[in-house]
Symmetry: D2
Subunit: 411 residues, 4 copies
C-alpha cells in the first residue's frame, strides 16, 4: 500500500506524507479524531469560513517543518533522516491532546488538565504501540534532545505551530491582516550557537509576523462575539454539570455523560486507561448535539442558555481597560434575577465579568534571535532601529463584562 | 440595531447584507441551522479543507446575485428595489431545505422527500411569519414571476448557485482545476428576449466553467473515497433503521430517533407542523454523534460499519464503464458472509453495486444562450467553432462496486 | 463605439471604464504615454516583477475610487453623477505629470519642476481640449471644491493613490509584507464634519496599512540596490548633460536631446507649448535606449557609468544612522581618481553621499481620522490603546554612501 | 560573495539561484538583456499587466525544473548533481536567443533566423567563455544526452517552458482562464521507459492544462488587438527597412540601424562575432524609441503607421474561418490609396490579409504519456474516456484581414 500520499491544502497547495510511520500515525484514531475538533471553536459564528480543524493545522505545521529542514540542511546543518522524522512527528502530534472547544472545556469539564499534558500522555501511549519509534520525537517535544534547535522548531516564539496557525486562521477567516510571509521567514532560518536564528534581512518579515499575530488577537481570537460564544458555552457546561451533580439526568453521548458525572484529575488520567479512552472519544459533535437537545430541558437556566446558543443570541460583551465596577455587576445580577425569576446565584449564569490578555511577544522566553550580518546575535526587539516592537512586548490586559442581551435596555 | 452587516468571506473578501429583511431571514433558526450542514458531506475525508457549510454557500450565492443585478442594471434592464430584494431572498433560501448529508439521507431516512420540495415548504412557512414579504421571492423561485430571467439567475445551467458552489468547493478543497472566472462571466451577463444571455466575448469563460464543472465531478463530487464514505453512511443509516424497526433502541438525539422510527412522507410533512420542526432540528452533529456511539453497539453489522466509518476504513470502490458482473458480486457476498459469520442478506451491507453519472451540460434544459455580436442568440454548444462542448453534453454513466476492504486479498 | 470597456487587472480582477469622457481621457496621448513609464523606475532590477506602469496604477486608483463612492453613497452621503465623474477624473489624472524615472529626472534634467505641478498644467490643457468638462475635477484636485472630502479621496494620508500603489507595488514585487486590506478600509469609509473618516472597527486595518507602508519603504522603495540603480542613473544624466553643455553631441531621441541642451523652468513650461509637448514625448525608452548607446561613448566617465548600468554593476551603498564622515568620502574620492586616472571632481561621479527619509505617517497633515462609536473623531495615532503608531509617526532619516564596487577591497 | 540569492516572484513566491555557475550565467549580459524583452510583446496594449519579461520567465521555468527534479528523485530516479545543474542551465537559457518582439522581427529584420537557432549559438559562445561547463546542458537542450527524459523536461508538450509561461502569462494578464495546476502536474511526473510520463491520477490536471493553453491562445496570444498591434509593428519595420534600402537615413540606435541596413543570414551570424554582438545589443527600447521618433518622419507611410502605433490607433482586424475574398481586399486597397493619396503598392501597408493557427496539442510529437495504474503507457488523448482531447488535437487555422480603422465606414 502506498503511504506517501499527497493531501490537497488550500493554504499551501499540497502536503506530502513523508514516511510510512507518519502515515500510520495520521491514520491512528487519536489523530483522526482531530478531524472533528475545530481549531477555532465557535469563531465560525463570526467568520463563517473558520471551520478548519486541528487535523488540518497539524498537517500544515508538518509541511512547514519539512520546508524548514530543507533550508537548514542547505545551509550546512546536519539533520539526520531519523531526526527529520522525529521532529516531523513531534510537530504533527504537538496538539494531539486537544479536546473539543479546549478553552471552554479546560475551564469546566477537564479542569486542571492542560492539553499539553494530555498530548504528552498520548504520545507516550503511541510510543508503546509503535514499539519505541517515537522516543526521539518525544525527547524533541520535551526539549531534552541534544540538538536543542529542533525543539525550537516545535515550540518557541517563532515555531511551525505559530507560523501555520496564523497562516491558516487568516486564510479561513478571510482576515487578510493576519497574512504572514512564512515562506520568507523559513528561507531566513539558520542555526547559531545551537539556537534557531533569523538572518538579518528577514527582520521585516519577523516584525510583520509579530504585528500580524497581535492584529489576529484583537480581530479574531479575542473578538467580542467569539468571546461571547465561548463564555456562553462555559456557562452551559457549568450548569449541566451542576444539574448532573444534583442528580438530574441529561441527554449526552456516553463520553460526555462520563465527564459530566466524574472529575478526572491528572493523576486519574494517568492511572486508568479508560479515562484516556473516554477523553479521546470526545469531539465537537458530542457537545453540539447535546446542547441542541438541552435547549428544551426543564431547567430554566440550562434551557435558556442553550436556546440562546442555538439561536445565536450571544451575550452582550463590554471590553474595557479598567476592571468592571462591582456595583454595576451587582445591579445587573439583580436585574437578571428579577427578569428571569431566578435566584441571584443562578443569575450569575447570565451576568459575569472576567479578564483577557494578549501576549504578542515576550522577550526572554523562547525569544526570537536575529543573526546580524556581523555574525552577532541580538533579540528582535533590539535588532531594528525602525522598530516598534517594544510596544508589542507589553502584555495588554483587558476586562470583559458579559450579560444576556435581554438585559440591554435597547440595542 | 445595525443590520447591514459585513461578513468576511475567504472566497470573495466581503459579503454585505443588503437589507433588514434579509438580515432577519439569515438570523432565523431555519437558516442558522445551515451553519451545521456541510456543503460536501464527508468529502473532507479526502480534502480536509472541505468543511464549508450550506450557510456560507447561500451567502456567497447571494453576493454573486448582487453583482449580477448591478451588471444587468448598468446595461439598461430595469430591476426594481423590490425585485432585487426578492431575487436575493430566492437565492439565499434556494437550499434551505437541505438536511445533513443530503444524498445519504434522501436514500434512507427521508426517502421521497427532495430538498427542493422542503425548501419550498420552508419558504412558505417563512412567508407566513414575515407577513407575505417573501411572496415575490417565492414566485421567482418557482418560475412564475413575470420577469423570467430573474428565475434563471436562481436556477438554470449558469445560475448563481452553480457559480458559487464551483468557486467555493474549488477554494476549500484546494482543487484549483475547479476555479472559474465568475467575475468575468457575471460581467458578460445580459438579458435578451426575456432570457439571461452571455455576450459573445464571454464564450471562453463559459466554456471554462463547463469544463471546470466536469473536472470537479470526477475529482471531487464523484471521487472514489467520497463515494466510499457516502455509501458507508447510507449502509449505517439503513442498518440502524432496520434495527429500530425490529424493536431495538439506539442512542440518538430526539430528532434523529424520530426519523429512525417514523416514515415521513411528503404529505405528512405538509400536514403536521411538528414534522417540519423535527426535520429542521437535524444537522450533521446528530448523525456524527450517533455513529460514534453505535460503533460499540451489540449488533455486529451496525458496530462494524460504524467502527469502519469512525476509523476511516472506508469501502473499497471500483469504478467501471461496464456494469459489474452479478457473479462477482455474489462471490464477494459469500466471502463476506463467511468471513463475518453473518447471513448473506446481512453481507449486503458490506458488498453492493450501484451506478453514478455526471451531467456537465444538457442542451435544451435551462440551456446557456450566447448573444452574438450580430445580435442573434445561439446555444453555447453551437457558438464556438473551437468548441469541444459536444463531448461535455454527453452524460457519462459509470458503475461502482463497493465492498469492505477486509475482503481485499491484498492492497 | 462602445466606450464602457472592461480592463483585466491582476490586482482587482476587472476595472470598468465608467463613462465616455473617461474613456476619451484614457485614450489621449498624455495618458497613453504613462504606459511606458514604470511606476517604480529601476526597482525591477531587484524585484523582476516590478514592471507595472503609472498607466495601470492610475486605472487601479480609479477603480478604488468607484468602490469608495459606492460605500459613501450607501451611507447616505450625496455625491452627484457629475461629482462622481469629476473625482474619478481627478484620481485618474493625479499622476499624469510624471516623467520617466521621476526622482532621477527631477534631480537632473527637469530640476525645479515637480510632477504635481506638471500634472496641473496638463489637466488645464486637457480642460481646454475637452471644453471645460474637467473644471470640477481640477477644483477637486486642487482642494478648492466645496465638498472637501472629495479632495481627501484624491490626496490625503489614506487616499486612493496610496491604497492602490501599496496594493500594486506589493503585488508586482511579490513582497507580501505590503499587502493591505483596501477592501476593508474602503468599507469603513464615512464622512463626518466634511472630512473622510474611518469607522472605529476599521482601526486595525488602518494600522496595518501604515505598517505595510513603512515595511514597503524599507524593503522596496529605499532598498539598497534600488537606491544604487537610481543614483547611478542620476550620475549618468548629470554627466551627459555636462558633456552636452560642453559642446559634445550625444546620441538621443529629439525629446531627450532637447532636455539635455535646454533648461526648462516652470515659467518656460507654461509659456511655450512646445516645451510641454517635448516633456510629454518622453518616456522610459528614451532614457534606456540612450544609456545603452552611451556605454561605448569616448568619454570615460559616461561610458563607465553606462556600462556599469547596463551590466548591472551598481554602486555599493552603505546605509547608516549617522552622517558619513567627510574624511572617509575624501579618501574614497582619492582612490577613485587614482584608479580611474580622472580628476577628483570627476571622481565625484563614482563616490558620493546623500540622505534618505521615510515618513510613514505625519499626524496633523491630511491626517487619518477615526470615527469612534460614541460619534467623536480622534486621530488614528490616539485612537488605539494597543497602538504603536507613535513610533510610525517619527520620521526616520538615514544617510547613504555610494561608491563604485571597483573601490571595494573585497566583496 | 554570496551567489545563492533568493529572488521574489509574484507567481511562485521565491526563486532560489541554485549554484554559482547559474548565478554567473544570470549575470551575463546575454541573459541580463532579457530584462528588457517582454515575453508578450505588445500584448500589454490589451492586458496592461502583461509587462513581464523573458528574464522572469526563464527564472520561473528554472524554478519549476527544480521542483520536478525533486519529485523524480523522490520516486527513485537517479539524477546526479551535475545533471541537475545541466538541465537547470538548459531551461534557463532555452529562450536566450529571443530578440525584441520576436514574431515581428522574425518576419522582417532577422528573416530566416529563428530564436531557437540563435539560442544554440549563444549557448555555444557561453560554453567557450565558461570553459566547457555548459557541454552537458547543450547536449540536453539538443536532445543528444543519454537520459532523454531530461530533454523532455526542457522541450516537449508538457515541459517547464510551457508550464511556466501559461502560469505567468495568465497571472500577469489577469486572465484566470489560463491558470493551471503546475504544482499538481509536477507532483504527478514520473519516468518510464526513458520518457517523462504523468501518473494516471494527474490526468485531469493535464487535460486542464491543454484546455487552458487553448483558451490562452484565443483570449491572449491570438487576441484581435494583440494581432493588430503586432501587424502594425511588422508594417513599420518593413517600411523603415524599405526606406533605408532606398537611401533614406532614419533615427535609430546603432544596433537597430545595422539591422535596417544589413541582411543577416544564419551563416553570417555564425561567421562574424560582431553580428551576434549587434543582435544581443537589441531590446524592446531600441524599437520603441525609434518608432516614437519616426512618427514625425517626412515619409507619409512611415509617419502614419508610427503615429497610429503611438496613439494606439491599431488596425481593424477581422478573424474568419474562410480565406478573405481577394476582391474585397482589392477594394479596400483602392480605398486606402485613394484616401491617403498613395500608390496601391503603398496601400498594402494599410490593408492586408494573413492566417493564424493554434496547435493546442499534437499527438505523436513530443506527446504526453500517461502512466496507467496497470503500468501501461498511453497517450493523453486516449487515456481519458471522459476526454474531449480529440477536439484539442485538431489544428485550428483562421484567416485575418487587417486594415486601418480610417477605412471603416463607421465603428
Amino acid at each position: 500500500m502506498n503511504k506517501r500520499k499527497i493531501i490537497n491544502d488550500p493554504v499551501y497547495g499540497f502536503i506530502t506524507i513523508p514516511s510510512d510511520l507518519v502515515f500510520d500515525l495520521i491514520e491512528h484514531p487519536y489523530f483522526q479524531r482531530l478531524r472533528y475538533i475545530k481549531q477555532l471553536g465557535m469563531t465560525h459564528l463570526v467568520y463563517p469560513g473558520a471551520l478548519h480543524t486541528r487535523f488540518h493545522h497539524a498537517l500544515g505545521a508538518m509541511h512547514l517543518m519539512k520546508l524548514s529542514i530543507e533550508v537548514l540542511r542547505s545551509k550546512g546543518h546536519e539533520i539526520t533522516q531519523h531526526e527529520e522524522e522525529a521532529v516531523t512527528i513531534a510537530i504533527l502530534l504537538h496538539d494531539v491532546g486537544h479536546g473539543p472547544f479546549s478553552h471552554a472545556l479546560e475551564h469546566t469539564l477537564v479542569q486542571g488538565l492542560s492539553h499539553e499534558h494530555i498530548s504528552v500522555m498520548l504520545m507516550d501511549r503511541l510510543n508503546q504501540q509503535f514499539n519505541g519509534q517515537l522516543t526521539t520525537a518525544i525527547e524533541i517535544f520535551n526539549g531534552t534532545y541534544s540538538k536543542g534547535f529542533l525543539h525550537e522548531l516545535v515550540s518557541s516564539q517563532l515555531d511551525m505551530d505559530r507560523l501555520d496557525y496564523l497562516n491558516r486562521d487568516s486564510f479561513f477567516t478571510g482576515v487578510s491582516e493576519g497574512v504572514i510571509s512564512s515562506d520568507r521567514i523559513i528561507k531566513m532560518l539558520n542555526v547559531k550557537d545551537g539556537h534557531i536564528v533569523i538572518e538579518e534581512k528577514g527582520i521585516y518579515s519577523v516584525e510583520k509576523f509579530l504585528i500580524a499575530r497581535r492584529l489576529m488577537y484583537w480581530q479574531v481570537y479575542l473578538h467580542k462575539t467569539v468571546i461571547a460564544a465561548e463564555q456562553l458555552l462555559v456557562k452551559i457546561l457549568q450548569r449541566s454539570r451542576q444539574l448532573v451533580t444534583n442528580g438530574k439526568t441529561l441527554f449526552a453521548t456516553p463520553a460526555l455523560a462520563y465527564l459530566l458525572t466524574n472529575t478526572i484529575t491528572s493523576d486519574a488520567l494517568m492511572k486508568a486507561d479508560h479515562h484516556l479512552e473516554i477523553f479521546t472519544a470526545l469531539d465537537d459533535t458530542d457537545i453540539m448535539s447535546a446542547v441542541k437537545v438541552w435547549a428544551t430541558n426543564e431547567d430554566f437556566v440550562l434551557a435558556k442558555l442553550c436556546t440562546d446558543f442555538v439561536q445565536r443570541k450571544l451575550f452582550h460583551v463590554d471590553i474595557t481597560a479598567q476592571p468592571v465596577s462591582e456595583g454595576y455587576v451587582d445591579e445587573l445580577l439583580e436585574k437578571a434575577a428579577d427578569k428571569y425569576k431566578i435566584s441571584k446565584a443562578e443569575a450569575g449564569y447570565f451576568v459575569f465579568s472576567d479578564s483577557i490578555r494578549n501576549d504578542a511577544y515576550q522577550p526572554g522566553d523562547g525569544n526570537i534571535r536575529i543573526l546580524m550580518k556581523n555574525n552577532t546575535i541580538i533579540d528582535i526587539a533590539a535588532a531594528s532601529d525602525n522598530s516598534n516592537l517594544e510596544a508589542l512586548a507589553k502584555t495588554v490586559k483587558k476586562y470583559i463584562l458579559c450579560y444576556s442581551k435581554d438585559l440591554l435596555i435597547s440595542d
